[in-house]
Amino acid sequence: MPMQTFSQTATIPISITVNGNLTISDANNDASSGKNPTLNVNISITPDLGAAAATGNANFRIRTNRSNWKLIAQRTSEVDTGPTNISASDVGLLITTQAGSKANPDAGSLVAPFNTKTDISKISTSTPVNVISGKLKTSRERDNTNFNNYFQVNTQYSIAPDFFYQPGTWKTTVTYNLVSP
């Protein structure tokens, strides 16, 4: 039987635009609710003979599909209710990085002086300082779970229980920002 065509084709154009993104999340709450986290580090010390330095940690994860990025940090002026005699240079800072199994471990590298143990006086209160220089996107392969594509930054803060310090509370806030030119 001959065919008559009223309308024979349908066309589906596909257009995909992938935009750049920079994400920081709490390493202990690595989900949407953990984005842009506030991580409190409370260190309590009592001076003592032979006691080790007290430490506190704040770990966060970076994800970006940009190949040129950096992690910068800036600190607020300290507030001292003692005065405690603590200065920023008394607070040790150790930053390390690690990567999930589907992330690039070399996505970013620590910039001096943060590539070794230092102190938080190196984080300026007046201008942002470079902490990590990122040269690759953080993902190395597809990860449809987001479980293993993270580039993690571990920051550890420490202070010795020195008898020089007087009772009181000393505070400062470090803000880390992920930026891309």
């Binding site: 039987m1 001959p2 065919m3 008559q4 065509t5 009223f6 309308s7 024979q8 084709t9 349908a10 066309t11 589906i12 154009p13 596909i14 257009s15 995909i16 635009t17 992938v18 935009n19 750049g20 993104n21 994400t23 999340s25 690595d30 989900a31 949407s32 984005k35 994800r63 970006t64 599909n65 940009r66 190949s67 589907k102 996107k137 953080t138 993902s139 190395r140 392969e141 597809r142 990860d143 449809n144 987001n146 594509n149």
Partner: protein, 185 residues
């Protein structure tokens, strides 16, 4: 007299065919859900990777009408190919990154078992399964007695395409298309 009768029958058939073309010729048509013929349905994904929601989806539908029992829907894919982007080619969005899920329903006189999704399109697959002239639906029953675009008897083909907002994809623009053609075997 016999010759006159024969001519009369032929003439009547021609007139009847002229007034009722869908009864004289088998026909088919493909429209969108608004009954527009030869439709163009644009799929636009514009996203940035994120932790959640992780998947971006698009849905659309086509209506197929055929007065013939045997018909086929075939598809041809082009791309999606990177237009402007940077990075390792393995991190470009590939057809296999885009899932596709079809569903067919019959409306009006069209019976659900008259249009059969052919494997692998009978369950969720991805765009790499569509190549050049790939058979999507094997039609074994007509949708009704007419295939004019506003006729209420049709098969509805729903499509859902999804893409993970993966951090690995190279930023930039990708484009391609899928064309569906309704053919008689």
């Amino acid at each position: 007299m016999h010759q006159y009768k024969k001519k009369y029958i032929i003439f009547s058939f021609i007139i009847f065919a002229f007034l009722k073309p869908e009864n004289a010729l088998a026909c088919f048509s493909i429209t969108d859900d608004f009954n527009s013929p030869d439709p163009v349905l644009n799929i636009t994904f514009n996203f940035e990777p994120d932790l959640e929601p992780f998947r971006e989806c698009w849905s659309g539908a086509l209506r197929i009408r055929s007065t013939k029992r045997n018909w086929r829907l075939v598809a041809t894919r082009r791309g999606p190919n990177p237009a402007v982007n940077q990075g390792d080619s393995s991190d470009n969005i590939k057809p296999s990154d885009i899932s596709i899920e079809f569903e067919v329903k019959g409306f009006g006189e069209a019976q659900a078992d008259g249009a059969i999704l052919v494997s692998p399109f009978s369950s969720e697959t991805d765009l790499s399964s569509i190549r050049n002239g790939t058979l999507i639906i094997s039609g074994v029953k007509r949708s009704g007695g007419s295939c004019t675009i506003h006729n209420p008897n049709f098969y509805k083909l729903k499509k859902k395409l999804c893409l993970f907002r993966d951090y690995v994809f190279n930023t930039g623009y990708y484009n391609g298309d899928i064309s569906y053609i309704l053919v008689a075997p």
